[in-house]
Symmetry: C2
Subunit: 231 residues, 2 copies
Amino acid sequence: MLKSVHPNQKRLPELVSEQIKELIAKGNLKAGDKLPNEFEMAEQLQVGRGTIREAVKILVSQNVLEIKRGNGTFVCERTGLADDPLGLWMIEDKQKLALDLCEVRMMIEPEIAELAAERGTKDEIASLKNAGYAVEEKIRSGEDHSAEDINFHEALAKMSKNQVVPKLIPVIQSAVNLFVKVTDSVLREETIETHNKIIRAVEDGDGAGAKAALEDHLKLNKEEIQRLISR
Amino acid sequence: MLKSVHPNQKRLPELVSEQIKELIAKGNLKAGDKLPNEFEMAEQLQVGRGTIREAVKILVSQNVLEIKRGNGTFVCERTGLADDPLGLWMIEDKQKLALDLCEVRMMIEPEIAELAAERGTKDEIASLKNAGYAVEEKIRSGEDHSAEDINFHEALAKMSKNQVVPKLIPVIQSAVNLFVKVTDSVLREETIETHNKIIRAVEDGDGAGAKAALEDHLKLNKEEIQRLISR
């Protein structure tokens, strides 16, 4: 699996960490996979165990690997993504942050919905429908649906075939959940409706319709946040 | 500076790390500031040195603090921002990535320019002009102008008064530099011109003009990338 690295200008632990990242990028190692233990890796790569430990440390700090104590080293589920990679915790005014996040979503998500309608495949439409059902189920049973909601918008982002937006959307949406307590009781029914509108538009290849559905949804979202703030 | 933390549900190192983050968020600790040493912090907070060490480790992994060996612990310059926080290294096709990044910039940056023109203050316009001069100087002397270019677009993003976009723009622009080797000889003159157009439009409070200038710039950018790929 791993090839021996030969010393050049770069430090050994960096070379090892880059090799591991390459295996992940190429799909040889997947999210959740367990890495061989220190001894095996050191042997395969013909480097010392200290080098392996340092390489793993680098990758842990980059949210690529995680160490589960007493269990081993694993590839992170959301590889490379920290909980709050944009460092939004630094923003003190969380109410204004909620509106700002809304503004950013308004720039990106309607465009994404349009691209998704133009570029999505049949299989992807089926997955999007399932993601939509999952949200609806959680809402109907009165449970927290934020994780399912992020999945829905991530699925939509993947359909755009743009490789950057599926990384961006969870970041922005998680931020909403991390920092903003918007009790979305008012928006629950509306969320189900919007998702259905988006699914229909995407199925019909109707870019303008998908875009409009997201714009309406975000406008309502913004109004709801403003209402909560003014209270 | 630091208050003693008292144990509750959370683990001590986490409480300490949160307290340090709060001091940074409130501006009591600024980028580049040196933290008191382990002994002093342990004393101030009435916790063990092991707890301080663990708290620092958490914050190093979040790109909030950095340890300069033999010198001490410092607040990171771009606090909370990793080099590649979206984990774009995982995308194998770097040529398609270049076009995808362009597509994302097209969603966000024209809107930002429009908001900047509507919301920017006189002082901010002066800073934007200086940032523009700095780019032009580098280009005229044939040097790499990517850092100055990021500063220009970051200054523009700050003028939008949206607190999220100034965090987003450097991420996307750095990605362009990290992953895409676009020899921008053709775009050098055009970059100077675009920046001047943006500055003029922002000075005039002309949102539509600023938006159009950025749209044109990004269209040319995209064409140049496509030309390079097809070669």
